[in-house]
Amino acid sequence: MNRSAIDLWVGVFVAVGFGAILFMALKVGNLLTLDRASGYRIEANFDNIGGLKLRAPVKAAGVVIGRVEAVRLNPKTYEALVTLRVDNQYSFSRDTIASINTSGLLGEVFVALDAGGDSVMLKDGERITKTQSAVVIEKLISQFLFDKAAEGGGGSKK
């Protein structure tokens, strides 16, 4: 095989290979949809974050608008301090409610933001005061069982 044919084939190979990497970056991965570096930070305190993990989505009305950047425990109040990174194009009022939800019974855990009516918007580094903790299913079930047991006990006495 002569030299120019080899050059041509190697050129095609390298181009297609880089095409495959680009395909994985753009079509498979999310290089363009959510840039990690952009956006501003909001903090929120939760009594219990349940199964919330780093890089979990932050959603408003079901639309992904950011990611969970850090989860820490406040050593004084024993509350979880969650740092959210929200895309710059969205701003939220100061009385926004942050809650930890689960999509479906086995689905992923995410932070939902419900915008309030205040005209003052949250700025970088500010804290959401109104939060709603994760629902712990075991607690719910045990509460339900205790209620049932209490009802049943009351019924048998009569």
Partner: protein, 270 residues
Amino acid sequence: MSTDALAGVTHFLRRLGGAVTGSISRLGFASRFLVAIAWHSPQALRRFQLTIREVYFAGVLSLVIILMSGLFVGMVLSLQGYETLKRYGADEQLGILVALSLVRELGPVMAGLLFASRAGSAITAEIGLMKTTEQLAAMEMMAVDPLARVIAPRFWGGVISMPLLAALFSAFGIFGGYLVGVRLIGIDDGAFWGQMKAGVDVWPDVTNGIIKSLVFGIAVSLIAVFEGYDAKPTAEGVSTATTRTVVISSLAILALDFVMTVFMFRGGGQ
């Protein structure tokens, strides 16, 4: 009787010790060899045409097996993944399953294994035969350094080809997964790609896959050229060296993959 038994034991111990020191000194020689390749690389890369030729032999000629394997692995992954995910009603997550398995693990590892058996063995056999027919010695006589003229271009050809082959393997695997998942089984097109986009991150998933394939490329290429250069200059020696290349490369890929996975994806952060 007892002296016979003693002789047997010392013979065994001597052979064991010989095997251990032999393999350790080979390891030392291989490390020295890597440094020598690096030292001769600028000289070799200045004549880049040689490396391009090796990219052709190691990369372009491996394309068919890599692309076909990628396609079939993706299709099987999609079928099996669907069967399992269906039980939990999570069959729309198939895109994530296929893409993450391919991009993180199967792409680099399978492409590496195929590359070792397709291209690595060929490199070893070629260099081993050059040594057997005293072509390497003849080059030295002509004041041409075989490390710069023969070894380094083959090494760099492999190192350049491997990440591209792994990326193509993953891309074709995802395409195969799409064919089976969306076209054959009938998962929603948007859910397949959308879930995939939401679940796969360029950093760390895609970049770590590329890093893995680069490391495998270096490992396989080094093992291939080293085994060829170190082969006994006989027909049997070349065949043994070729076998060793495939066996050692495969083990090295799997072991390196485990080590890198531990460092890259150890829980928590995901």
